[in-house]
Symmetry: C2
Subunit: 199 residues, 2 copies
């Protein structure tokens, strides 16, 4: 007998359409929601609804925000001559946590990935170029992920900006804190040696 309720099938189809989910993980997600106290599960759904209603990309930088223009773009205290370019909002949130950066952000919404068919038109690159002109930006800090694709995306953007009078920088490579030296890959270790710092 086909005894899986249609409603449950729809949920599994929905969740398995999300990146990183398969049928089994979608089933687990549904089962976990159904097994928790119904009141708590309904609260989770309410929070998700509220998120979809209230959270949108900032019209300037693209960071997820409750306001049309995010608190960073709106702040009087941020340095508006520098933009840090990241792949996703949570990358910017992570940088904010360090307290070491006081400029603006620009969220690309991903990275160039020929394999996944993600090209420059899929990323917020033209809006970056517009902001660079409009805000008379003096420095761009490229903070895409230190992966092959993140690196290619950073180089692509650096290339677009090379004839302008802008300092272009990149987050430093090196050993992550707490790393075990003998396990570090060759590339990371090479960079850590090249960029050695005096103590």
């Amino acid at each position: 007998m086909d005894v899986i309720p249609e409603i449950l099938k729809n949920v599994i189809e929905d969740i398995s359409s999300l990146p990183g989910y398969g049928e089994k993980s979608a089933q687990r997600f549904a089962v976990n929601l159904l097994k928790m106290p119904r009141k708590d599960a309904i609260n989770i759904i309410k929070d998700l609804s509220l998120m979809l209603e209230k959270i949108h990309p900032c019209k300037e930088c693209g960071i997820f925000s409750e306001e049309e223009i995010c608190p960073i773009c709106n702040s009087e205290e941020r340095d508006k001559s520098i933009i840090c370019v990241v792949e996703e909002s949570f990358d910017a949130f992570a940088i904010e946590k360090t307290g070491k950066y006081n400029g603006l952000y620009h969220i690309l919404g991903g990275r160039l990935s020929p394999l996944e068919g993600i090209t420059e038109e899929d990323l917020n690159i033209s809006s970056l170029l517009q902001r660079v002109e409009k805000l008379k930006i003096k420095e761009i800090l490229l903070a895409t992920n230190p992966t092959v694709e993140g690196e290619a995306t950073a180089l692509y953007i650096a290339n677009l900006l090379k004839n302008k009078d802008i300092t272009i920088s990149r987050l430093a490579y090196g050993l992550p804190f707490g790393a075990i030296l003998e396990n570090a890959d060759e590339f990371t270790l090479t960079k850590a040696i090249e960029l050695k710092v005096k103590i």
Copy 2:
């Protein structure tokens, strides 16, 4: 600056409270919903709401169902002298797909796990014993997962039923279809030899 919108923080806290989720996977879940066309994301939330409204455990066997009594318990065509005991609804759904079983089910809602503090009171075991009496069950097919905990749960239930006039069976162990023999663990291979079948 603490720029993560409160609403987004709540969602991440919600999702990371689900088993198998951490902060990063909860972030990914939220970001994926926020990045898809808003209409599609809202549809997913609607499906989840509908699931929480309509899907409940069957009052008899505990399988997830839209009806108070599930189609299996309600069917005239099922053999009501045998109960297949499984950990979760999706285990029963998987067995139904084979078309090889025509009896009833009983959903335990998990397995005994001293490490996670899951005891017999947390599982639907007393309702199983009641059904065994009420339905005058002749056979119990134990189909908990072939793990240490699933096995212990099966043995625990078998023990509760041992003085009754009931045939108690267990799903066969053996090589899974498509397995590579040299990679099979010793226990599986031992069982496959012990339970060898004539061809």
